[in-house]
């Protein structure tokens, strides 16, 4: 039966995450925006708390990328399931209402963890359990075009030898593991691209620099060089075979789970902006009257209503994608729809809220200007707006990547 409300069983988790956002993230938000590259030590205790919660099973996967892709969640009598994909999205929304940069800095919640959760075999799952894993895909000459990855992996005895350059590795400095995408044979395109788990302490993995960024400054973004970086061959995730049909799809399937999550991050920031702006406008005497048409209200109220409407569309698209994942329905199209809508909508909301609030929006005394800087990354990473539109279009139009470039 159709119902689009947040399920009651997740209300506690949402409240808990909101409390963390309010009491842990918000008070240190500005501090780590100003002190870029400084480690937010406050998060260690929080991570321990969340690990405890996960073990207790109560608020499983509330905090980050490690939660998605799971197959838990009790089935209702009619076969409907609300599981960890949805609960993680809901938790992430609340935490990013607090601070998206800090969420991205949460120990053991990296996107690498999500890749491991999606692709690793049982032995690997056990070996890498409890470790913080970052994800290294992008190279100076290959961003959205992952088939153009030039980092190589060559089998030498029981080890792969990795050589290349990786940039934009979120939590690259702080993580314990880095999942590195590399090609077994540059001539074979996508099918030859595999992911390898590299220990952060590996001497062949050399930290080049940390980026200075527009936003999410609490989160470290690393650049690495891989110089004859040797990893045990057991650290290859998935199959070592170059299967032109399956391999790349396997690597990409991680994204079906993580894209709704990044959409959820965008929605958290957007909601922070909307809540703050709504309150400021109400102090200024502007309140939306939902019973009246937008055009018969003052322009600021009409604009806020318009922003809320797009927020709601993006939020429901995201919950739909998560719900489909929980119910094991293929959701690649819906995940990209959600990410596309949420990424652009959140950016639009944040920038417009800055304008509605004037100097309060722009000034560093409040957080609106920070959110407007933070949010833009969410329309870029895990597939840019344009990549999402390509994915959606290819599916709807039945086109291959060779036809619709």
């Amino acid at each position: 039966m159709i119902d689009l409300e947040i399920p009651r069983k997740f209300e506690g988790l949402v409240a808990q995450a909101h409390q963390v956002a309010t009491e842990v993230f918000r008070p240190i938000s500005r501090k780590y925006d100003l002190a870029e590259h400084e480690y937010p030590k406050e998060l260690d205790m929080l991570a321990a708390l969340i690990d405890g919660m996960n073990e207790g099973g109560g608020a499983a996967g509330a905090a980050g990328a490690a939660g998605v892709g799971g197959r838990d969640g009790a089935e209702a009598a009619d076969g409907n399931r609300n599981g960890s994909n949805m609960s993680t999205c809901l938790g992430v929304m609340e935490l990013c209402w607090g601070d998206v940069g800090l969420l991205l800095s949460m120990p053991r919640q990296g996107l690498g963890n999500s890749a491991i959760a999606a692709v690793a075999d049982d032995e690997q799952l056990e070996r890498f359990a409890g470790k913080w894993a970052a994800m290294a895909i992008t190279e100076p000459e290959a961003g959205s075009d992952t088939a153009a990855i030039r980092t190589t992996a060559v089998l030498d005895g029981d080890e792969y030898v990795l050589n290349g350059e990786k940039i934009y590795v979120t939590s690259g400095e702080r993580a314990e593991l880095v999942v590195v995408w590399a090609t077994l044979d540059p001539k074979q395109g996508r099918a030859a691209i595999k992911s390898f788990v590299v220990e952060r302490s590996n001497p062949g993995l050399k930290l080049d620099r940390l980026e200075h960024k527009l936003g999410i400054r609490a989160s470290d973004t690393a650049a690495f060089r891989l110089e004859d970086c040797r990893v045990p061959k057991e650290n290859l995730l998935g199959s070592p075979e170059i299967d032109t049909k399956k391999s790349f799809a396997g690597a990409m399937q991680t994204f079906d789970n993580t894209r709704p999550l990044v959409a959820a991050m965008a929605l958290g920031v957007a909601k922070a902006c909307l809540d703050e702006t709504r309150e400021r406008l109400s102090e200024a005497g502007v309140v939306i009257d939902y019973d009246r048409p937008a055009q018969s209200q003052v322009a600021a109220a009409a604009e806020l209503l318009s922003l809320e409407a797009d927020y709601e569309a993006a939020r429901l698209l995201t919950l739909r994608a998560a719900w489909m994942a929980d119910n094991r329905k293929p959701n690649s199209l819906q995940a990209s729809e959600a990410k596309a809508k949420a990424g652009r909508t959140a950016t639009d909301i944040a920038l417009r809220c800055v304008r509605l609030c004037g100097s309060i929006g722009l000034g560093e005394s409040e957080l609106l200007e920070k959110w407007a800087r933070d949010v833009k990354i969410l329309d870029l990473f895990e597939g840019t707006q344009q990549i999402q539109l390509l994915i959606v279009a290819r599916q709807l139009l039945g086109k291959s990547s060779a036809e619709l470039k």
Binding site: M1, E5, N82, Y290, P293, S296, A309, L319, R320
Partner: protein, 431 residues
């Protein structure tokens, strides 16, 4: 009248008119003729009689509190979607262009839709309806399917059900026993909700139509705009401002003295034969006030009407998407399908994203309404999306077909007009 207009056009094209200096006086004549000449009394259609003895008003029950997020319609809803979907593609789509041109829905289609039970979705079982539970979601699903066939015909088909739903939701025993039963049979009365008024920045909470108490009667005065099948209306629910300033809903039977209509063809939903209602000292009984004049009932009514138009926008938006996809794949330019260009492909992606967002927002508000929870904010949000994004879907759809989108050989120009209309009209329908 059609013949009269054709004759007029012939006269207007004569050079003689200009040479003789007759154009200005002729135009004045035509103007006053169109202003007053087509006004007709709303015909007395049928006599409504109390048919049932009810000890208390019959209501559909709320769907109660649920536990989980779910996008799967019930089995019953899926059956209705299928039935109305088949009807829409087999009967409505082929009839759409002619109905749009004629500015009327064929009686045969209206009769067939009545057989499908289109007017009784909101009627409780006790009153002969189909379902015991509230049915805003069901009506949204059905409306979407009908509008996928044609929005104008869908509006004509759904308007009577809106009145039946209103009286089921808010009517007292006398109102229910007198008016609801005919909507459950094959001969469904022409009926509609009359809320909108003809002026810019119309706000349903600031009505100019008035209802004044005179003894045992209410006396209504004012003008209502874009009422489906106004000329043939047998039963109307009219929104009017009472003396306290609060808006109320009044049941008005066709044929009541002082109730006039005139055609008001519009940009879109032309098959719904929209018209203006002119109320000149229309007297109705004290018992005609619906919902006891409760302002919350009125607000809910306005919100439910918006959801009905949202559902129609979603259906027509989906029709646009379904039409554009094969078109851009087949249409070739510069040696390949135009869909191989990102500018085209990305527009298709956005059509899909926005239509899906509109649908989910509409369903959320409707599900809250069924659960008996507040949904005013959710309805406003859905309305805004369907008005803004729905309009863009219309415009972008035409853009994808280029010149073909602009000519009547293709349905796309009609959807452009319908999608704009759906985001503007208040009242008329109800979920």
């Amino acid at each position: 009248m059609g013949l009269g207009l054709r004759a007029l056009r012939n006269v207007a094209s004569l050079e003689l008119v200009d040479r003789a200096g007759l154009r200005a006086p002729l135009e004045r004549l035509v103007h006053s003729g169109s202003k007053n000449g087509f006004r007709t009394a709303v015909a007395a259609g049928r006599a409504f009689k109390a048919t049932q003895q009810l000890s208390r008003p019959a209501r559909q029950s709320t769907t109660g509190s649920r536990q989980l997020f779910d996008l799967t319609p019930t089995d019953e809803q899926q059956m209705l979607q299928e039935a109305f979907g088949d009807f829409a593609s087999a009967r409505l789509r082929p009839a759409a262009q002619d109905a749009d041109g004629a500015g009327a829905a064929p009686d045969e289609l209206l009769a067939q839709s009545a057989e499908l039970g289109a007017a009784m979705l909101g009627v409780p079982e006790e009153l002969g309806g189909a379902t015991g539970e509230r049915s805003a979601v069901t009506t949204v699903l059905v409306a979407e399917k009908l509008a996928h066939g044609d929005m104008g015909l869908a509006a004509a088909i759904l308007a009577p059900g809106g009145v039946a739903t209103a009286i089921s939701l808010w009517g007292d025993t006398a109102q229910q026993s007198r008016y609801v039963e005919p909507f459950t049979g094959d001969d469904v009365p022409a009926a509609a909700l009359a809320v909108m008024e003809p002026r810019p920045l119309f706000d349903p909470l600031e009505l100019q139509t008035t209802a004044v108490r005179r003894g045992d009667a209410w006396v209504l005065n004012g003008v209502k705009s874009l009422v489906p099948r106004a000329a043939r209306a047998e039963l109307l629910v009219v929104a009017a401002r009472t003396e306290s300033g609060a808006p109320g809903l009044f049941i008005v039977e066709g044929g009541t003295a002082g109730l006039l209509s005139e055609p008001e063809p519009a940009m879109g939903v032309r098959a719904a034969a929209t018209g203006r209602l002119i109320l000149e000292d229309v007297e109705v009984s004290a018992g005609a006030l619906l919902g006891g004049g409760d302002p919350d009932v009125y607000r809910e009514c306005v919100a439910r009407a918006r959801l009905a138009w949202c559902a129609l926008s979603v259906g027509t938006g989906q029709a646009m998407l379904d039409y554009v996809i094969p078109y851009v794949n087949e249409r070739r330019a510069f040696g390949e399908p135009v869909s191989h260009r990102q500018a085209v492909a990305f527009t298709v992606s956005d059509l899909a994203i926005e239509v899906d967002g509109m649908r989910l927002a509409t369903l959320r508000a409707a599900a809250l309404a069924d659960a008996g929870k507040p949904f005013s904010r959710e309805a406003a949000v859905a309305r805004h999306l369907c008005s803004e994004r729905g309009m863009a879907v219309g415009s972008d759809g035409v853009q994808m077909l280029g010149g073909h989108g602009y000519v009547k050989e293709y349905p796309v120009e009609r959807w452009y007009r319908d999608l704009r209309s759906a985001g503007v009209i208040e009242g008329a329908l109800l979920v």
